[in-house]
Amino acid sequence: MTIPFRQQQMQPMPNGKRTQAGNAEPPRSVPAGALIEFERVSLSLAGRPILQDVNLEIGKGEFVCVVGPSGCGKTTMLRLIAGLFTPTSGKVRYAGAPVTGPRPDIAIVFQDYGKALLPWRNAAGNISLALEAIGVPKAERQERICRLLQLIGLADDADKFPIQLSGGMQQRLQIARCLAQDPVVLLMDEPFAALDALTRQELQDEIQAIVAARNSTVFFVTHDLEEAIYLGDRVFGMRPNPGRIVEAFEVRLPRPRDWLTTPEHPEFLGLRRALFDFIKKVK
């Protein structure tokens, strides 16, 4: 596999942090709300259409969940936003400008956390990788690492290597590394699917809190319908062959949500029924 490396224009910012402007076109004025846009996006791989004519707008601070049967292109959409894929036709825009490649303010949390962490670095070292990548000077790193470890509850495990951490802790570590990038957008690809039910609930609540505190925009892919309702402001339903969005559900549940009371809310139950019916339809 070739390692594509991108040319970056590094621009210094007042507090010494470096960011980059990797986009070719200057950002045009964006309607208040649309941070991420899909405009008639289609993608084919080796002749097979994966996505067809996808249109979508995600506003700043929105928590968007995408559900659908396997192969409907949810992960592909995530990768398009991330800049890891380019559309065959149509445009994917971030902050008004076309997405040309990965950028530090968009962070990806992968499902296979074991493979996404550096096994030879301890927890602190893994977080440090993101800080090194965005150019945080060495003196500042330690403090930020400590803060992030405390945030996700790994303060006592800074010296541990990934192999010494449980699945839930490893995923926490990956999330911490993503947060170290100071991202505006969090792309999460079925991040809790490989965890046991208890850990999953814990992490769902933690992500809720973190996202609320930072006002992050989240694009969350999942198979778990209840998880989608529980976490999201909006839930998109996709159907496969070729992948396209066919339904959009508004989640009008009060925040903060918890697993004790929220699932009993009539709105939750209504959405649950609607989503189950939807999935049965598109399978």
């Binding site: 596999m1 490396f5 970056q8 890891l84 990806i108 296979d112 996404a116 096994p119 290597f161 010494q164």
Partner: protein, 254 residues
């Protein structure tokens, strides 16, 4: 070391001592002619005598230096070139088949070629050692760099790491287990080729020592030399093994 590990170590040490006692018995009872099999006492005496009164220590040092020198040469080249080849699928497609063809070639078969170019000299021995130790390290490094977890490359892309950073922070540490394994094999080969090279060129070293001892029917000297060579192999393997365990401590689950 835990209690049970110390116990087993001592027990197996006792077993080894038992073998030595058996050896002594066989030699004393002349079950095998002392011209062929000197007792451990005689071998040890020859060892001590050689190190104090004769130049056995110098021979030992020569062999060790030669082995290390050739091995380091091969390591640097093997890792550098292996990294470049391993990281590029195109390079691998073009070069790996050729490398795999050379892999089963006994390094000692290169010796006459090396003699043709360098004559019976130090340089020739060094060239042979470096050549012999190079291939396992090169191939192991290529394998290590080729087998980097693809997800980590994606993480690197997402983080925007430069190509140099990817090699330094992702590919190299990931390939370390393979590289170290290759270096271990390379060291064993380096020792063997050092000995063979010394035998052929009669340059100073344990290879020459044991060959001459054998030819002059000095069995005790011969065995002394063999013991020393075993010691060199043991110490170098142990040191490298310790370094490996330290560098790869992230693999052990506690």
């Amino acid at each position: 070391m835990s209690g049970s590990r110390i116990f087993w170590f001592l027990a197996s040490l006792a077993v080894a001592a038992g073998f030595i006692v058996l050896w002594q018995y066989v030699a004393d009872a002349r079950l095998i002619s002392p011209a062929f099999l000197p007792g451990p006492n005689r071998a040890w005496a020859a060892l001590v005598d050689g190190m104090i009164h004769r130049d056995l220590t110098d021979q030992l040092i020569s062999t060790v230096m030669r082995m290390i020198y050739g091995w380091l040469l091969a390591s640097t080249l093997g890792i550098a070139v292996g990294a470049l080849i391993g990281i590029s699928p195109t390079a691998r497609a073009y070069l790996l088949p050729t490398l795999e063809m050379i892999r089963p070639l006994p390094a000692s078969a290169i010796i006459p070629v090396s003699i043709a170019f360098f004559g019976l000299s130090e340089r020739m021995v060094l060239a042979v050692i470096a050549f012999g130790a190079l291939w396992p390290m090169l191939l192991a490094t290529v394998h290590g760099f080729a087998a980097v977890e693809p997800r980590l490359y994606e993480v690197a892309r997402a983080l925007g790491l430069s190509r140099w950073d990817v090699i330094r922070k992702i590919a190299l540490p990931s390939a370390m287990p393979d590289i170290l394994a290759g270096m271990r094999i390379g060291l064993t080969i380096a020792l063997i080729l050092a000995v063979v090279g010394e035998m052929l060129t009669s340059t100073e070293g344990l290879g020459q020592w044991v060959l001459f001892a054998g030819r002059s029917f000095r069995a005790s000297d011969l065995f002394a030399g063999v013991i020393l060579l075993g010691a060199v192999g043991y110490v170098s393997a142990t040191l490298l093994g310790a370094a490996e365990r330290y560098l790869l401590r992230w693999r052990i689950s506690h």
